[in-house]
Amino acid sequence: MTQTPILTTEGLEKRFGGVVAARDISVALHAGETVAVIGSNGAGKTTFVNMVTGYLKPSAGKISFRGRDITGMSPRDTARAGIRRSFQISQIFPELTALENAMIAEIAALETKGSLSSHAITDARMHAARGVLARFGLEKFADTRVATLPQGVKKQLDIAMAAVDDPAVILLDEPTSGVSVDEKISMMESVITPLMNGEGTVLFIEHDMDIVSRFASRTIAFYEGTILADGPTEEVLRNDEVRKYVIGGTAHA
C-alpha cells in the first residue's frame, strides 16, 4: 500500500479528569479498506470513533483527513467533510417512516450542497432516498413508522442514513450489538456489501471474532486505551497478546 492514507491519527490521547481513556493512538486508514476494531469494553474503541467524528475533542494528538487537519472539528463539520458514522444505540427519527428518515438524510446535505430554501421534496431526491433504502434492503419498510421496527432493522437504517452521501469514511459503532446471534451475519452482509461497493473506507467496532474475520481485511486491537496490534485480520487474530488480552477478555472471560 503505497498510496497516501485518507485518514490518519497521530498520538491521539483522551483524558477524562485523571482517567486516560485513550493514549498514543496512531492509525492510518486507506481508501477502500474495511477495518475492524476489536477490544474489550473500556479499551478505547468508542472513544477513538468519537474523537474521529468530532464528538470528543482529543486531549492531545492530531487527526488528518485527506491531508487536512480536522482535530477538534465539530461532528457536523466532520460529517460534511465526508466522515460519517452509525451508532451503538441506533440514532434514527423514530416517529417518521423509513423513507422519511432517508429523505432527511438527503435533505440534510442541502445545507452544504444546495440551498436550505429550495424545495426539499423533489422527485430526484425521493428517487435517491428510495435507492438508499433499496441498497440496504429496506424498501419494504419505506412507509413504516420506524419506532415499530425490530432492533436489527433500525440499526440497518441507521447505517443506511450514514451512507447516504457516499462518505469517504464510514465508522460503524458495534453494528451488530442488539441483534440476535443467528441474524448477525446476514445483517452484516446486508450492510457491508453495499458499503464496500462504494469507494469508501469502512471501519467497524465488533466483538464477534467470527464476523471480524469474515468481513474485515484489516483489524486494529485496542487494549486499555492503546493499540495492541494493527494489521491484516488473520495476523492480528493470531497475535498472542491479542489472544490473551483481547479475545480472551471478550469471548472467554
Binding site: 464528538y55 451508532f87 451503538q88 444505540i89 440514532q91
Partner: protein, 298 residues
C-alpha cells in the same frame, strides 16, 4: 444601615414565601414531569379555605392561639382532598402524554378551578387578619417587623427540611427518588408508580394550599390572586432548576432578594426584576442552577 437591615429581612421574608409556593411545583415536576399551572388555583383555594374557615372559627369565639392549629389542619385536609381529586379525577388518564399537553391540561384546570372558586366564594374580598396581628411586631434595628412574617421564614425552613427528610429517609420518599431517577426501572423493580404519583401530587398540592393559607391573613383574598403566583413560582423553579428541591430554595432566595433589592434601591424595576433574573440565569445556565443535565447516550 437601616436600609441594609430592611433589605435583608424583606428579602428573607419574600424568599420564604416564594419557596412555599414554588416547592410543590418543582416536586410535582420532578416526579411526574407535569408543569402544573393549576398550582396557582390551589394556592388561591388554600387562601379562601383558610379565610372562610378561620372566619367561622373566630366567629364561634374559639381560643385564638389554637387558630394556627386549625389553619394547619384545614390546609392539610384541603391539600390532600384537592390533590387527590385532581390527580385521580383527571390527570391519571393522561399520564405518558407530552409535557406540553400536560401544561395545557393544567391550564384548563386552572381556568375551571378559578371560576369554581368564584362560584363558591363570590367576588368580594375575604379577610382573616387576626393571625397576622396576633404576634404583634418586634423592632429589628429600628425597623418594626411583624412576627408573623418572621415565623413564615421558620415555617418555610421547617417544611423544606421535612420534605427533604421525607425524600431522603423514608421508604416512600426513597421510592419517589427512584421514580425520579428512572421511571421504567422503578416500575420494573416493583415500585407502585401510580401510588407514588398520587402521593406526590397530594404533597405538592398541600404545599400550594399551605402557601395560600399562610398568606391569607396578610391579604385580601380576592379572585385572581392565583395568577401572579404561578408565574412567580415558575420563575423560581426555573432559576433553581426544574425538579430540584434545593434548587427551589436557591431560586427563591435569588428571586426574593432581587425583588427586595429593587424595591429599596430601584423601585421602578420591581416589575421585571424576577424575570430579568430568570432570563439572566437561563442565559448562563440553560437548565437552571441546580438541574441535573442528563447528557444523551450515544
Amino acid at each position: 444601615m437601616l436600609k441594609f437591615t430592611a433589605i435583608m429581612l424583606d428579602g428573607l421574608n419574600y424568599s420564604a414565601w416564594l419557596f412555599l409556593v414554588a416547592v410543590g411545583l418543582t416536586l410535582i415536576y420532578g416526579v411526574m414531569r407535569i408543569l402544573n399551572i393549576a398550582h396557582g388555583a390551589f394556592y388561591a383555594i388554600g387562601a379562601y379555605v383558610c379565610a372562610s374557615t378561620l372566619g367561622l372559627y373566630y366567629g364561634a369565639g374559639l381560643p385564638e392561639a389554637l387558630a394556627f392549629l386549625a389553619m394547619g389542619l384545614v390546609a392539610l385536609i384541603a391539600g390532600v382532598v384537592l390533590g387527590l381529586a385532581v390527580e385521580r379525577g383527571v390527570l391519571r388518564f393522561l399520564y405518558g402524554k407530552d409535557e406540553v399537553l400536560m401544561v395545557l391540561v393544567t391550564y384548563a384546570l386552572f381556568l375551571i378551578l378559578g371560576d369554581a372558586v368564584k362560584l363558591i366564594w363570590g367576588v368580594e374580598s375575604y379577610f382573616v387578619y387576626q393571625p397576622y396581628a396576633y404576634f404583634g411586631f418586634v423592632e429589628i434595628g429600628g425597623l418594626p417587623y411583624q412576627v408573623y412574617d418572621l415565623l413564615m421564614v421558620v415555617l418555610a425552613v421547617v417544611l423544606g427540611v421535612a420534605l427533604w427528610f421525607w425524600l431522603e429517609r423514608s421508604r416512600m420518599g426513597r421510592m419517589t427518588t427512584a421514580v425520579v431517577a428512572d421511571r421504567e426501572i422503578s416500575a420494573a423493580m416493583g415500585i407502585n408508580v401510580k401510588r407514588i404519583f398520587a402521593t406526590t401530587f397530594a404533597i405538592g398540592t398541600f404545599f400550594a394550599v399551605v402557601g395560600g393559607a399562610v398568606t391569607a391573613p396578610k391579604i385580601a383574598v380576592t379572585p385572581g390572586i392565583g395568577v401572579e403566583v404561578i408565574i412567580l413560582a415558575f420563575a423560581v423553579v426555573v432559576i433553581g432548576g426544574l425538579g430540584s428541591i434545593p434548587g427551589a430554595a436557591i431560586g427563591a432566595v435569588f428571586a426574593g432578594y432581587a425583588r427586595a433589592l429593587s424595591v429599596h434601591l430601584a423601585p421602578e424595576f420591581e416589575l421585571f426584576a424576577i424575570y430579568a433574573v430568570m432570563a439572566a440565569v437561563l442565559a448562563v445556565r440553560p437548565h437552571g442552577l441546580f438541574a441535573k443535565v442528563s447528557g444523551r447516550k450515544i
